[in-house]
Amino acid sequence: MAPNHEPGMKLYVGIWIGLIAIMLVEVFLTYQHLAPRTLLACLLVLAFVEAGIGIAYFMHMKYENPNLFWSLVPITIFVLFMLDHIWPDAFRLARMSMR
């Protein structure tokens, strides 16, 4: 049942340093007077990179059976995608509400 080829503390420390470096890049970008939309896009891309590294290595997804990844991740992403697309309906319903 146990996953194979688990990495050692040396790799984890390297990832930890990398994640801190990404956070510092985010703070640096914040003060580069980018347009809000560009800044948001950059910060989200970096956040997704951090999350991907965290899930793959810290949460060991990379070392689990691929069935786990394919059962969980695409469905969760689909739900989040649909959530994003139906959320503006909340505003439409608010405008249509009785006053």
Binding site: M1, A2, P3, E6, G8, M9, Y12, V13, W16, L19, I20, M23, L24, E26, V27, T30, Y31, P36, L39, L40, L43, L44, L46, A47, E50, A51, G54, I55, F58, M59, E64, N65, N67, L68, S71, L72, I75, T76, V79, L80, L83, D84, W87, P88, A90, F91
Partner: protein, 202 residues
């Protein structure tokens, strides 16, 4: 009849213990919860023409950076705990879990210090001392409050698991399963920090 239940059970198609699968399913559902809140926050921010950026680099963003480093370090110490638990080194595992709980407590303390500082300045759920949109405070306290609740719950869960592991009624599998939750809380912060803090830098 002498055979245990295990004789009749199929192997997991995922190759993991059921408690670990349950934690993964919980994490997937909690991801949706946090995402819904962050979407709501983002829509409010875009929809409010008088949104006021509220964070100066010092002390707020600097505090947020320290909190990020503390939480990332706690993930590292949690990994140390899992490795020690799997190696059967109970003493080392408990020490690493102790460090993780300490770092989680420091994170919560830094966060609460910031909250109280903002409340002292006049920020409330529906009150903006800067005169802009009142949803700024509501968004900030709701998003960071839910995350803070997860951190405090995580510290409590780690304490219970550490106690059970020490006394021998919980296994390395329980430590590993709890570590998934702790790393998830860390990963959520990777989104909260840029969206709530950095996008509101003055």
């Amino acid at each position: 009849m002498d055979a245990g239940h295990g004789t009749f059970m199929e192997a997991s198609p995922y190759g993991i213990e059921s408690k670990k699968l349950a934690m993964w399913l919980f994490i997937a559902s909690d991801t949706v919860t946090f995402t819904a809140l962050l979407f709501a926050y983002s829509y409010l921010r875009i929809g409010s023409p008088n949104w006021t950026p509220l964070f100066k680099f010092w002390p707020s963003l600097a505090n947020g950076m320290v909190m990020t480093i503390v939480l990332l370090t706690s993930s590292l110490t949690m990994l140390g705990g899992v490795m020690a638990a799997k190696a059967g080194n109970k003493k080392s595992c408990l020490r690493w879990m102790g460090y993780t709980m300490l770092l989680g407590t420091i994170f919560a303390a830094l966060h609460l210090r910031e909250w109280f500082g903002m409340i002292h300045e006049g920020w409330r759920l529906f009150q903006n001392p800067l005169g802009g949109s009142v949803e700024v405070g509501a968004g900030f306290f709701c998003v960071t409050g839910l995350h803070l609740l997860h951190v405090i719950s995580g510290v409590a869960a780690l304490a219970v698991i550490a106690l059970g592991f020490k006394r021998g009624w919980l296994t390395a599998g329980h430590v590993e399963t709890t570590s998934l939750y702790w790393h998830f809380v860390d990963i959520v912060w990777m989104f909260v920090f840029p969206i709530v803090y950095l996008m509101n830098a003055q």
